[in-house]
């Protein structure tokens, strides 16, 4: 039973690690604020969800699971709020995306 738990946790951690590393590479590689938001969203959803699922599988039914679910729910709700406010403020401050003509309103 322990071996099955460890294997499932390992798979979840592998997917989560790939997700956050790809997100960080995208945060460096992409050319613009509006496209970097996608990479940040990948870190916030994929990485957090899979890491917390792996730790939930490992801890079983206890108070630790409740705390992990609390962290997951909180990040799940606050990440879109932050991304939306950042994009809205960048549009308000007249930052143009790459490929658009300067001065053209989004």
């Amino acid at each position: 039973m322990e071996l099955v738990k460890d294997i499932i946790t390992g798979i979840f951690f592998f997917i989560g690690s790939m997700s956050i590393i790809i997100g960080a590479c995208g945060l460096i590689k992409l050319p613009d604020v509006f496209s970097r938001i996608h990479a940040a969203g990948m870190i916030d959803t994929g990485g957090t969800a899979f890491f917390l699922l792996g730790m939930i599988v490992q801890s079983g039914w206890s108070l630790i699971t409740v705390k992990l679910v609390l962290i997951g729910i909180f990040i799940f709700f606050t990440s879109p709020v932050t991304s939306h406010i950042t994009a809205n403020l960048a549009r308000e401050k007249k930052i143009t995306p790459v490929g658009k003509k300067i001065g053209k309103v989004l």
Partner: protein, 88 residues
């Protein structure tokens, strides 16, 4: 297993620090700092499991709350020029 996940968190943290240093505009830096905070939350939780003391999850919850409030505060300061003081 936990050690490998912690190393992955460290690598992506270093990559995000590069973006924080190189970022052209303020919004790039704010976005990268928010992502770095999320990765630090995951790192605190993983370190608690790695060292066999899952009580570190309380610190992770508090770090997530402060990360969100700090990001919103910096964005509001950058947007309006004040933090909600009484205008004279």
């Amino acid at each position: 297993m936990y050690l490998a996940a912690l190393i992955a968190c460290g690598i992506s943290g270093i990559l995000i620090l590069v973006r924080i240093i190189l970022g052209k505009t303020t919004f790039d830096r704010i976005l990268a700092i928010n992502s770095l905070g999320t990765i630090i939350v995951l790192g605190i939780a993983l370190h608690g499991f790695y060292s066999g003391r899952p009580e570190f999850l309380d610190i992770a919850i508090v770090y997530a709350l402060i990360n969100f409030i700090g990001t919103i505060a910096v964005l509001k300061l950058f947007s309006t020029g004040s933090l909600g003081d009484i205008q004279k």
